[in-house]
Amino acid sequence: MLGYLARRIALLVPTVIGITIAAFAFIRLLPGDPILALAGQHGVTAERYEILKEQFGFNRPIWEQYFDYLQNVLHGDFGISLSSKRPVLEEFLTRFPATLELSLCAIIFAVALGIPAGVFAATQRGKFGDQALMGTALVGYSMPIFWWGLLLIMFFSGFLGWTPVSGRISLMYYFPSVTGFMLIDSLLSGQKGAFASAASHLVLPAIVLGTIPLAVIARQTRSAMLEVLGEDYVRTARAKGLSPFAVIGIHALRNALIPVITVIGLMVGTLLAGAILTETIFSWPGIGKWMVDSIFRRDYPVVQGGLMLIAMIVMLVNLIVDMLYGLINPRIRRQ
């Protein structure tokens, strides 16, 4: 197991270097200029432009800028935001809990609904229930997040008035951030109604962000279940006279869950991508919204630092999933 872990970690090194190059090159390949973006409608004179270029270090050869950047990153320095003038890592850490909280709620929503739906569809194979569920899952998977979010806001917040439109908590509550997780902080604050307000603010964004994972998990669970339900041991369990619940819930589902867990692990990337749009619609102060704003401002340090940090998180989660998978299925370790 240790050897497997070492091999996996060694493989991460070239991947991380690749990501630094990609993150560094990506924002520079986009047309546009950070100095002009910063200057606003007045623009700058050619002389002043040169001075600023030198000040920001953009006049040096690109490889030199890259190696400097790499060296700083290795020391944990992701640079200073051109816009807010604050360290990128600090800005990232301020916003990351909001994204993590939203993503966790979205994935809980997706798992809580997706697995039962997939199991149900598998037991109803070919019948109306199966077709209706899988049809809905396909619609969910194809739903443009932006449109879906606005639709839910208009219906639940605008028409029914059940949920708040946007934000993380009602503006009447004000307490210092302790953990950065609003659900926990609202409980810690001891203010009456704060937790309920934070929870109600999470409902719509979590549904919107969880919709695509929900569809994927439901479909994956269904196909894994169908495969397992045809196995000999399931037939044996049935022959033993076990109740359908015991057969499906204990014998079949446990084995069907292995590929589903992998899919959930791989969903992290999808969640972070979805968070960009979801956070924009719901004014959710997480890293997705921060990255979008920074791309528009051509804030090079934020975009490259943010990309790297996000990529590292995705890699870390995938590594953990691989480890778990290796634990569950010993054959993987030996490959």
Binding site: L38, H42, G43, K85, V165, S166, G167, M172, S283
Partner: protein, 531 residues
Amino acid sequence: MKNMATLLATTAILATLATAAHSKTLVFCSEASPAHFDPGPTTGGNDFDASSRTMYNRLVEFEHGGTAVKPGLAESWEISDDGLEYTFHLRPGVKFHTTEYFTPTRDMNADDVIFSFERQWKEDNPWYAYLSGLTWDYFQGMDMPKFLKSIEKVDDLTVKMTLTEPNAPMLANLGMDFASIMSKEYADQLVASGDLASLSTKPIGTGPFQFVAYQADAVIRYKAFPDYWAGKVAIDDLIFAITTEPATRVQKLKAGECDIMPYPAPADIAGLKADPEINVMEQEGLNIGYMSYNVTIPPMDKVEVRKALSTAINKDAIIEAVYQGAGQSATNLIPPTMWSYNKSVKDNPYDPDAAKKMLEDAGVKDLTIDLWAMPVSRPYNPNAQRVAELIQADWAKIGVKANIVTYEWTEYRTRGKLKDRPGAFQIGWTGDNGDPDNFFATLFSCSAIGVSNYSSWCDPEFEKLTQDAKKVSDIAERTKLYEQAQVVFKREEPALTIAHSKVFMPMRKRVTGFTMDPLGIHRFDNVDVSE
């Protein structure tokens, strides 16, 4: 599910009741997070709303809803006859905010004023580069280093500013956000503690509201400053709920989660007007959408060709199709609400036949033009692509072929300002300080070529008129010069003036006293809310 619905509904009701109990809270759904809270180096309207207009004051202020300059932290001032010396008499007894991070021991005085300018001006000032990569774009952009010779303290409440040459717009410049007055005492405290960066995150000013807290990308909280020199404002708490997506802002306003919002999408305006709980205020913006011809590239170096191209364009159709009633056809470079607007200037008539003949007379045949369209929606031009298509169709009627060109926004401007850029370039401008100089000289002076003069137009007569208008401080005299400048502009047609757009400001009916500002600033010092 039913329980969930009940829980959510109860929460919503509780929240509403609780909000009603804090009756003097105003929630503004602002459109973007501020970069930080120092009004000196920031450039965005959202930055100014969050800092300079809420928490700071300037020596002079713009009147509510207008661009006339009135006393601010300076009670009065004198300008010497040669226009070189400005003496400001400061208002006595002006307090800076008292917060948990700063307690002032003295009132605002001349040291604060000098500090506020020198930090942006003198490179050896410790505050000049107090944040990494700091730039003072407005101080530079308004040519302050060129015009300022010295700022001296005469006594505690008198400051003398000496200029290198007369510059009539100087007074209006001093009303701009970058000229906000900071506390030198607070700055010294930060120097002593070695925490200079806090000047941008824990602001201290003299303005109507004082800072309470900022949660990044989410909420900014202010409270009324009880010792505000002009008297405590009517509302107690001011909250900026940062909501970048316009459609979400509209929903929040309708749901009562905010009281007032800027920049609704044009498509939402009819729906907002129909809502019985919402008022929609509107005003002509201090802006101009125009199309610059590069006058150095043949055949557009000939005035007849430029005139022909402009005459072929049906501006009314553009206003109707693109601005959808939220704009007016622009005859001059400045909007009609601005002083010195020349009413006697006649716009080019829409006459395709005459245009065709003008081109023939100029000996131009089979003309192909690059027609530039901005990739973004701006207040002065909501859809430049659509404008380009309409112009393309109009020009086709006189045998001119237009190729529509577009790039990413900053790239678009970089390419647009190249001296040898071919074609007609759509762009626009929103006024900074209500002075005509901020349109005429900023956009079409010879020195602005390569910066913001997209026509590369350097006309000696226009240049003389606009430069002379800078040197006299008498408004009547300046008006005459600018009126003439508008005649020259229309005669030479370096650009087609397309439209001045309207700006909309939807708010809940409980909001009273809000005035729309021609400079696009959002101010809440005269706003009240009913119970």
